[in-house]
C-alpha cells in the first residue's frame, strides 16, 4: 500500500522536487507516527496530506521542514538528501497552524525577519579587472520593496506598523503567509493553516491560496484533516492513516475510486456495504445482484461503495431494491434520506423529497458502484500457550481448546495433551498462530476474566453493520470485527472471544 505511485495528470513538470524514501518516524515508546512512507512531489504541484488526527501527516510535514528528524529513510530535495540539514538551511518555508507570528515585532518586522537574515555572494569587478567576491545582505530599500509587494499580494497594504495583537485571525493568517512567501521558497509548507478561521473566511482563503499557487508556481505542500478543503485545492491528495499512505491520487480519483473502505468513508459521504462478486460483471449486496463495471475474482468478498448522490430514488418496484424511507432531512441543496431495506440502511441524496414512511425503491447505475478489496478478512495474531492451557495474544489472555492443535487428542488430568498416537506433550510456552474471524469477536463494557482491553479507534458503518477496530494500549494490537451494536469511538471496552472461535495452529512442531 505504501509503495503506490499512481498519478494521472501531467499538468506539472515531471521534475521531482521532493522525494520521501522509506521514511519512518518512531516516537518514544515505539509508536510509528510515520511508517515507511514513499512518495514524490513534483515541482509546482499542490499536494495535500489528508487524514484524521494522529495519522502522521503533520509529522511528515515537520520532517520536510526539518523540525523532526526521520528515524530511518531519506528526504531528497532536488535529488539531494536533506534529512540531516537544519531547518534554517532548507529553501523551504512554513505557514504554521497557529501562525506563530512574533509578538514582539510589528507586521513589517515579522515579514522582513527572513529577508534581513538572507546573505548573498556578490561578485564585483574593479578597475583593474580583478574580481572581488563579497557576502552581502539585502539593502534596506530592497527589503522594504519586497515587504510592500507581498503585503499588497495578501491585501494588507498599510499594515506595516501595526502590532500582531491588533490583527484579526484572518489578517494574522495573511501575515503568516506573506512572511513565508516573501522569502521566495522553493516549497511552501502549510500546516492546517485555515483551521482556526470561521467557515466563510476559510472558503475565501482556500480560493485565495489556490490563486496564489497558480500565480507563483511554487510547490505547495498542504496538511489538513478537512476532506472538502483537500478536494477543493489540491492537484494531488495523499490520504494517510496510522502513519501509512492509504491512497495517492487526484481529487477525482480519490473520490470516485477510493482504494479501501477507510478512504471511501473519510472522503465524502458514502454507503459502504459488504458484498460478493458473483462473476459476469455482477455484485451481490442488499439482497440484489447489481451490475457493475469492476472485475474481481468470482465469489470474492468485497466492500461496495455507493455515493449517496448516485442513488436514484424511484417508486416502489420500479428500481432494483425496495424499501421504506425512515428519515428525511433538508440540507439546503438537497434532501438527505435514509431508506431501510431488510436490515440494511442506504443514504440517499436527492432534490426530490420522499416522506418518511413512504415505500420506495432505489436504482444504482453500474458506474456508480465501486468495488474494493476487503481490507480485513480475519484477525491474525502470534501468541503462545500458557501453563493453564489458555492462549496469550493481542495483549490479552483467552480461553482456548488446545486439543484442536492435534487431531483426536485429549487433555490428561495434569494438563498435558495426549495425542492420537498416545504421546504426552507439554504445550506451555509453545508459540502458535491465532486466527479469529470478523464475526467472532464481542466487546463488553464490563471487565472479564479472559480477554483483552482497549479503546475503539475506528467505526465504519457498512449498511447493515458496523466494522469496529479495538486497539489495545500496550502493544497497540488491533481487534477488527463486525457488529450490529452501536458503540462510540474512544469507548474503553473488553474484548471477548468465545473459546471455540479461536483457531490455533502450531508455528512449528513441538519437540516431544
Amino acid at each position: 500500500m505504501a509503495n503506490q505511485r499512481i498519478r494521472r495528470d501531467a499538468v506539472m513538470s515531471d521534475e521531482k522536487i521532493i522525494q520521501l524514501v522509506d521514511l519512518c518516524r518512531c516516537f518514544d515508546g515505539g509508536v510509528y507516527a510515520v511508517d515507511n512512507v514513499n512518495l514524490y512531489v513534483r515541482k509546482g504541484e499542490f499536494i495535500t496530506f489528508l487524514g484524521p488526527s494522529g495519522c502522521g501527516k503533520t509529522t511528515t510535514l515537520r520532517m520536510i521542514a526539518g523540525f523532526d528528524k526521520p528515524t530511518s529513510g531519506k528526504i531528497l530535495l532536488n535529488g539531494k538528501d536533506i534529512s540531516n540539514l537544519p531547518p534554517n538551511k532548507r529553501p523551504i518555508n512554513t505557514v504554521f497552524q497557529r501562525y506563530a507570528l512574533f509578538p514582539h515585532l510589528n507586521i513589517y518586522d515579522n515579514i522582513a525577519f527572513g529577508l534581513k537574515l538572507k546573505k548573498f555572494k556578490v561578485t564585483y569587478e574593479n578597475d583593474q579587472g580583478h574580481r572581488i567576491e563579497k557576502i552581502e545582505k539585502l539593502k534596506k530599500s530592497e527589503i522594504a520593496a519586497k515587504v510592500e509587494k507581498v503585503l499588497k499580494m495578501v491585501d494588507l497594504e498599510g499594515f506595516e506598523k501595526r502590532s500582531v495583537s491588533t490583527l484579526s485571525g484572518g489578517q494574522q493568517q495573511r501575515v503568516a503567509i506573506a512572511r513565508a512567501l516573501v522569502n521566495e521558497p522553493e516549497i511552501l509548507l502549510l500546516d492546517e493553516p485555515l483551521g482556526a478561521l470561521d467557515l466563510k473566511m476559510r472558503k475565501d482563503m482556500q480560493l485565495e491560496l489556490k490563486e496564489m499557487h497558480r500565480k507563483l508556481g511554487i510547490t505547495f505542500i498542504y496538511v489538513t484533516h478537512d476532506q472538502e478543503e483537500a478536494l477543493t485545492m489540491s492537484d494531488t491528495i495523499v490520504v494517510m492513516k496510522d502513519g501509512v499512505i492509504q491512497q495517492i491520487g487526484t481529487p477525482t480519483d480519490i473520490y470516485n475510486e477510493p482504494k479501501n473502505a477507510f478512504v471511501a468513508d473519510f472522503i465524502g459521504e458514502s454507503n459502504i456495504f459488504s458484498g460478493t462478486y458473483i462473476g459476469g460483471g455482477k455484485v451481490r449486496f442488499l439482497g440484489h445482484a447489481f451490475e457493475c463495471v469492476d472485475n474481481f475474482e468470482v465469489n470474492e468478498k468485497v466492500d461496495v461503495v455507493v455515493r449517496p448522490e448516485d442513488v436514484v430514488i424511484k417508486d416502489r418496484d420500479e428500481g432494483q431494491v425496495n424499501g421504506k424511507i425512515i428519515s428525511s432531512i433538508f440540507k439546503g441543496v438537497h434532501y438527505e434520506m435514509v431508506m431501510q431495506t431488510g436490515k440494511s440502511e442506504i443514504v440517499i441524496q436527492s432534490t426530490v423529497e420522499r416522506k418518511v414512511g413512504e415505500e420506495v425503491s432505489v436504482y444504482i447505475a453500474p458506474d456508480s458502484i465501486h468495488l474494493m478489496h476487503k481490507e480485513f478478512v480475519s484477525n491474525k495474531y502470534e501468541g503462545y500457550i500458557t501453563k493453564h492451557n489458555t492462549v496469550c495474544f493481542g495483549d490479552g489472555e483467552f480461553e482456548c481448546d488446545v486439543t484442536k492443535l492435534y487431531p483426536n487428542s485429549i487433555l490428561d488430568e495434569e494438563g498435558y495433551i495426549i495425542t492420537q498416537e498416545g504421546e504426552r506433550i507439554d504445550l506451555t510456552d509453545v508459540d502458535v498462530n491465532v486466527e479469529v474471524g470478523l464475526k467472532d469477536i464481542e466487546i463488553s463494557d464490563h471487565e472479564v476474566e479472559y480477554g483483552a482491553v482497549g479503546n475503539i479507534v475506528s467505526i465504519i458503518y457498512k449498511g447493515d453493520h458496523y466494522q469496529i477496530i479495538v486497539r489495545t494500549d500496550e502493544n497497540e494490537e488491533d481487534f477488527v470485527f463486525d457488529t450490529e451494536d452501536t458503540w462510540n469511538e474512544n469507548d474503553r471496552v473488553y474484548v471477548i472471544i468465545p473459546k471455540e472461535k479461536i483457531k490455533l495452529s502450531l508455528k512449528e512442531e513441538v519437540k516431544r
Partner: protein
Amino acid sequence: MQNANSKRVSCEPLGIGGQKAKFSPFSRKQLCIPYGVFLACFVVIPLLLIVFYSFTDKNGNISLDNFIRFFSSATTLSTVIISILIALATTIICILLAYPVAYVLANSKLNKGGTLLMLFIMPMWINFVLRAMAMKDLLTLTGIFGVNNYLNVIIGMVYDYLPFMILPIYTVLIKMDKSLIEASQDLGASPLKTFTKVTLPLSLSGIASGVTMVFMPTMTCYVISDTFGNGLITIIGKLIDEQFTTFQNWNLGSAMAMVLLVIMLVSMWVTGGFKNQDEKEGSL
C-alpha cells in the same frame, strides 16, 4: 425557648431567580473586607506613619531636617551608593547565572516532572539565616571567604536570591510558544540568531520580574551583609535598622526608608517598561 425563637416551618433552596440565588451569602466586596482591614492596619497606616515621622523632628514639628541630614552626610550617601552597587552586581550576576539554568530547565528533557527545577527551588524552603551561615562556613572551608568582603557579600546575596531570578525566567520560557522558535529557524535564523532575535526579547518580561525580586531586597537584606561582610559592610537596610534600634531616631530612620522607597519606585518604573511590552505573556 427554641419554639419561641424560631418559626421556620420548611427550608427550601431558592433556585435561579429566587431572592437569594447567590451561593454565598456575602458579596464580593464584603469578602474583601478582612484583607482590606489587614491592609489598612499593617500597610497603609504604617506607611503614613513613616511619611509623618520623616517630615517631623523629635518634637513633632514639621521640618525637612531629616532629609537634609541624610543628604549632607557622606557616610549615609556612600552607604546608599554601596547598597545600590552591591544590589546591581548581585542582580547582574543572578541574571547571568539564572538565564542559562532556566533555559536548560525549560527546554531540556532532563527536567522531567520538574525534578531538576525542584532542586533549584528547594533552598528557598530552608530558613535563610541558616542557609547564609552554612554558605559562610562553606566559603571559609574553600578559602574564598576573607579574600574580599564585598565579594563575600555579593556571593552570599547571589546564593540567596538566585532562585528568585530562575523562577520567573523559567516561567516565561516554559510558556513561550515553541512554534515561534521553529518559525525563526524556518525563516533562516541560525540557533544563535534565533536566541538573540526571538527567545531573548520574548523572555525580557521574565528577567524584569526577576530583577524586581532580586534588586530591591538585596538593597536592604543586611542579615547577609552582616554575616558575610565581617561587620565591615553596611548597607542601607542596616542603616535604617540602627536608627530605629540603636539611636532611637525614628524620624531619621523614616526619612531613610522614604528615600529607599523612592529608589525602589524608580527601579520598578525602569523594569516595568519591559514588562509592558507583552503584558499578556506575564510572568510572576
